[in-house]
Amino acid sequence: MMSGWPLLSLVTFLPLVGAGFIFCVRGSDEVVAQNARHAALWTSLLTFVLSIFLWVDFDVRTSDFQFVETRAWIPAFGITYKMGIDGVSLLFVLLSTFLTPICILASWEAIETRVREYMISFLVLETMMVGMFCALDMVLFYIFFEGVLIPMFLIIGVWGGKRRVYSAFKFFLYTLAGSVLMLLAILFIYFETETTDIPALLNIYIEPNVQFWLWLAFFASFAVKVPMWPVHTWLPDAHVEAPTAGSVILAGVLLKMGAYGFLRFSVPMLPDASVFFTPFVYVLSIIAIIYTSLVALVQEDMKKLIAYSSVAHMGFVTLGTFTGNVQGVEGALFTMLSHGIVSGALFLIVGVIYDRMHTREIARYGGLVHRMPLYAFVFMVMMLASVGLPGTSGFVGEFLSLAGAFQANTWAALFATTGIILGAAYMLYLYRRVVFGELTRQDLKNITDLNLREKIIFAPLVVLVLWMGIYPKPFLDVFAASSGPIAARYHAAKTAAVLQPGIFSLIAEKPE
């Protein structure tokens, strides 16, 4: 119905327009703050509404890119402004546009200083995220991919907690270090193939030995973003120091960028290298699941616990991505989507009590159910979703990725499945310490339950978690549009088995 419009560009750049508008607001601090909040909220809501049309008009029967827009940009180098989405990216665009208004609403009262700058950062961040998922040109993708870092760096560094500067730099340097290698890979691809057009590159066969090095370069960048063990240590710090809404976006969308990169570039463009490195990815994924689950079990800070649990959940994603079958790939995509909502909600849940008590230490709580029954209910739903209970969104993705893993490698499936036990252990243990028990602390006796604003924030999240858990078909149908070709490419490479295990022989015969 809106086919004549450049819908993707509209969704991408509308937040930027809103940011520009906020930038121009003048007046006393209070007026500016209030205007900035409203402007940001309405801009992001409008963006969300527009993005829904993407889903409505999306054709799930084709794996081609849709809503494609092409404009000349740097003709001298053949670099174009090209946007488009397929089954892999569509729902992540929606996830970004869905979470942004929730984040702005969650920051309504929590952010009191430099409100205008904060809201601008958030809207710029939204543009970058959406653009990243829509970009169909390598250079454009890289710009958005790196561009995300800047507003996020500011959000952590300016509005964060006590160690915010340390965390912000750790976050920035960690992710930038990986990205530099990706830039090299992109330049190399450009010089070799003379195009940066992603759909075109998907149809160009790259020499296996070249794939080997390109894969590693991309991996360095994406693994940090996911994050995979052992390059995950920036995440707990970043989460702990970030303001609540920053954590929500970080866990909800930014962590998906790495896995998105694997599914967009590594597996389809470099299938031979992907097959070659599969065991390596499995090992890291399994370590991520078991190791970080155990670390989560002993955390004393709520946000840190959830941050570690995110690393474990991302382990299921990377595992599923590299199974090379439909269930695994769809499971990975579904886990990403579900985790975006559930972990975002969990950070909001921590934020609710942090706003009231100004501490995230688990030991400082206990017995909240007595004063906050509704809060306890929401927390329960999200906890169970995180644990992967059937009927919630967490189950579908986890189940599919593990079912995919079993077909690919039973050892990997066996170890990864222990994650469902450990996941239950740390989440139940957290819930018990915070929500159950007697309410003994004096300062908790007057804590209040969710207010209207918080109810409005949580209601859509709860509905979505149950919807995705009970009737996941609409979501799976979107993924199915693209999971087949990805799995097929991987499978073909596996059958061909061009790259044989034995890294040293490969390094010896240098790529031409």
């Binding site: 390059v231 240590t233 269930q327 059937p390 189950f395 599919l400 079993f406 077909q407 066996l414 009970i470």
Partner: protein, 647 residues
């Protein structure tokens, strides 16, 4: 109608939940929640009876599909209700018992502040169980499977102020998850091999997989044996079989109606149901069946032995449940699935009766559960006493009570199977039957007879329970008396084949139930004799000479402690799983993440960069003579080098 039978409890739970969220606190809200859930449950039970008639008696099996659930490539599963004789029996048992428990809860929980929440959990639990038994594919079964797990977590931890209740709730969930781990792997394996998760597709393909190999981990296994064993791990977790039984006795922390619901009609029977449902797979995996048989028989005797010495009235019954489930499993293990389901049904009635009666005792004793502080209650609560007697008679399998028919057919089938594992199961089953009779009457004698040992204040308050609690007992008592007699011919007797039809598959070579009808007379009579001996021994020890048990316990300290501490399973698991997990987690965090990764990686690089930068900046002192001196050195070096090379 077929959908409504399952969905009614969900509707009831939703109403109770909405009342909880929106209605003002008070008696009216509680009453509304109780009424809504009980009416929904009652309707569901009525529908179940009609369905039972249509499906099991008239043979109109059917599957009602609602809408798709998971659709991913070849993995296609729907939300569906599969009704055949097996599920119709289960739906009937579950809804009837659950209705009785719902009504009973009105009385039992009347002064609890969390009534609507409790009723909502009960109904939700029942809903999950119904989803489990009516599933037509593995994934929906897994939904119900985990659903009852989480509801039991909520119900066991219902009194969330108690640390012990919270601990028990978490334990129940985690141990169940260990079982689910196996179940999940089994489902993945089934999908990997059969390319489908729908029961009918899988069952149809099973014969073609006989003798094939499946590469699992680094070894090759017989496909069906491996898959059945993995799935059976799930059954062990849910049905509290050794070594995954530890959660069940602790689950007694929940309110008594919960114990009745979890341990009688639902949840713990899910494992038995699963094996019966998957009989078309297990039948072709004789090695897996042997394992089922051994695990069942071992659990039967292990749990009975622990039950001998427990002092908490509910724990005795809990171990008895564990033990009876063992009977059901070894029945499955000798291919007597019908006998297992028969015992499941009779057990549901008499065990629910026993639990609710013990609840009535606890209610009368103002919450006391320790039998050492009871005694002499018979004159005060005669109706409860009568109910307890009926339940115990049925449990011990004395003639013509329900348990007599079902337990005997299981033991006879084990004997009739003429296999080594069958004999193992038979003899352990006989010993367990003796222990069962002993601990049941020990419970009766310690609670109701002899000198009152409770403190005076409590004893002064002892009173019979209200009618709202007694009526459900009567209903269950009717079942405990007559269910065996009525069901015998259909479930395991001459009409067996017309009754079960295709819902259970037994290969002709495995027909142990047929063989059970032709065992020697002593096999038929032995269980009754050991039962009577057990009762006699209990009488001798607890009525004739009440001091004797203590002396025996003192003389056999080691054995007594070993049994009282449940063979030290909890301590063992704590030492090898729980504590190492925390130690490892802490080690990974402090030593792995912070010391190694951060220490060598970012922090190290940052520190080194900083040091280098400091050095470099230290060079820039701002004094002219420093720079001049540096330049001079440079010039000298250059000139020297030039002269040496050129010269």
């Amino acid at each position: 109608m077929y959908s409504l039978a399952v969905l009614m409890p969900l509707i009831g739970a939703s109403i109770a939940g909405l009342l909880l969220a929106f209605a003002p606190k008070g008696h009216g809200r509680d009453l509304a929640a109780q009424l809504a859930t009980c009416i929904c449950m009652g309707l569901s039970a009525l529908l179940a009876i009609v369905i039972f008639h249509q499906v099991a008696i008239l043979g109109q099996s059917r599957t009602v599909e609602l809408f798709p659930f998971i659709t991913s490539g070849a993995m296609q599963a729907s939300w569906a209700f599969k009704y055949d004789t097996l599920s119709a029996v289960m739906v009937f048992v579950v809804t009837v018992c659950s209705t009785a428990i719902h009504v009973y809860s009105i009385g039992y929980m009347h002064d609890d502040p969390g009534v609507p929440r409790f009723m909502a959990y009960l109904s939700l639990f029942t809903f999950c169980m119904l989803m489990l038994v009516t599933a037509d594919n593995f994934i929906q079964m897994f939904f119900g499977w985990e659903g009852v797990g989480v509801c039991s977590y909520l119900l066991i931890g219902f009194w969330y102020d108690r640390p012990s209740a919270n601990a028990a709730a978490i334990k129940a969930f985690i141990v169940n998850r260990v079982g689910d781990f196996g179940f999940a792997l089994g489902i993945f394996g089934v999908f990997a091999m059969f390319g489908s998760v729908v029961f009918d597709d899988v069952f149809a393909a099973v014969p073609t997989f006989v003798g094939t190999k499946l590469a699992f981990l680094s070894w090759e296994f017989d496909t069906l044996t491996l898959l059945c064993l993995l799935l059976f791990v799930g059954a062990m977790g849910k049905s509290a079989q050794v070594p995954l039984h530890t959660w069940l006795p602790d689950a007694m922390e929940g309110p008594t109606p919960v114990s009745a619901l979890i341990h009688a009609a639902t949840m713990v029977t899910a494992g038995v149901f699963m094996v019966a449902r998957l009989s078309p797979m297990f039948e072709y995996a004789p090695d897996a069946l042997a394992v089922v048989c051994i695990v069942g028989a071992s659990t039967a005797i292990f749990a009975a032995s622990v039950g001998l010495v427990q002092n908490d009235i509910k724990r005795v019954i809990a171990y008895s449940t564990c033990s009876q489930l063992g009977y059901m499993f070894f029945a499955c293990g000798v291919s007597a699935y019908a006998a297992a389901i028969f015992h499941l049904m009779t057990h549901a009635f008499f065990k629910a009766l026993l639990f609710l009666s013990s609840g009535s005792v606890i209610h009368a004793m103002s919450g006391e559960q320790d039998m050492r502080k009871m005694g002499g209650l018979a004159p005060y609560i005669p109706i409860t006493l009568a109910m307890m007697w009926i339940g115990s008679l049925a449990l011990a399998g004395l003639p013509f009570f329900a348990g007599y028919y079902s337990k005997d057919i299981i033991l006879e089938a084990a004997f009739g199977a003429h296999s080594a594992v069958g004999q193992y199961a038979f003899w352990l089953g006989i010993v367990a039957a003796f222990m069962t009779a002993f601990y049941s009457w020990r419970l009766l004698f310690m609670t109701f007879y002899g000198e009152p040992r409770g403190d005076k204040k409590v004893m002064a308050h002892v009173h019979e329970s209200p009618w709202i609690m007694l009526v459900p007992l009567f209903v269950l008592a009717v079942g405990a008396i007559f269910a065996g007699w009525i069901g015998y011919e259909s479930f395991v007797g001459s009409r067996m084949n017309e009754f079960w039809r295709e819902s259970i598959l037994v290969l002709p070579a495995h027909n142990s139930i047929e063989a059970a009808h032709h065992v020697p007379f002593w096999v038929k009579i032995l269980p009754i004799i050991v039962g009577l001996v057990g009762i006699g021994l209990a009488y001798g020890l607890y009525i004739r000479d009440p001091e004797r048990p203590r002396r025996i316990a003192q003389n056999a300290q080691g054995l007594y402690r070993f049994l009282l501490n449940k063979w030290y399973f909890d301590e063992l698991y704590d030492a090898i799983f729980v504590r190492p997990s925390f130690t490892l987690g802490f080690g990974f965090w402090k030593k792995g993440d912070e010391a190694t990764i951060d220490g060598l990686g970012p922090d190290n690089i940052a520190a080194n960069t900083l040091r280098l930068a400091r050095r470099a900046s230290a060079l820039q002192t701002g004094y002219v003579y420093h720079y001049a001196f540096a330049m001079l050195i440079g010039v000298v070096t250059l000139v020297t080098w030039y002269m040496l090379v050129r010269g």
